[in-house]
């Protein structure tokens, strides 16, 4: 069960290997991208994300961190960790 989310915190949602889940504990909404990716990597490797099987080889090197403030439909801040999608260059 997820912890209550305070106004300065955010739920972290992750997609990895066709699975999707949230970190069990909220994090600071203004945590750095590097910190978020490090926490997500550790959690997925340890099998600590409900809905995502433990993957000791998980690497989120080319993933990005999106931040969405709370709104009427979702009364808590959300951080999404997803793959990057730029092409070309």
């Amino acid at each position: 069960m997820n912890m209550p989310i305070q106004i300065h915190e955010a739920r972290v949602n992750i997609t990895w290997q066709g699975q999707n889940g949230d970190l069990p504990d909220p994090v600071s909404f203004d945590a750095t991208d590097g910190d978020v990716l490090q926490w997500v990597t550790e959690a997925v490797r340890a099998g600590d994300v409900p809905g995502i099987h433990a993957d000791r080889r998980a690497v989120f090197r080319d993933f990005v961190v999106d931040r969405y403030p709370a709104n009427d439909a979702r009364p808590f801040n959300l951080i999404q960790v997803r793959p990057k999608t730029p092409f070309g260059g």
Partner: protein, 130 residues
Amino acid sequence: MLETGVVLSLAGIPLYWHMPTTRTASSLPDSATLWEVIWHHREIVSGFAHSHPGRGLPGPSFEDVTSFAAIEDALGRRLEWPILSVNAMVCCRFAGPHRLDYRRTVVTHEPAWTHELRLRSYPHFEEVLL
């Protein structure tokens, strides 16, 4: 020319034309929307094609292959990654053994959607055909 992309189904049908307002002649920017589309269609998506400027056989950039790998890591399966120029098409697929090892195959019999991708990419494409 403006780089353009298209999400393709397993049946080879375009599912989504990717034409963000910030695209340029040499790049498609990072897009949460594109990832949402791919994730939404994850059961039926076969790949994502995009156009490159110029003529001749296009090759994937480092930006391309790192995005290929990241999206496949998130989906949990491999996709096909066609790249088009004005007059040629290749398809990139993971070949391994390393994470960014993608092999390029020349496509000589182009699917029907390639015409529309070029029309959306190259403003004067119809004139080029004449």
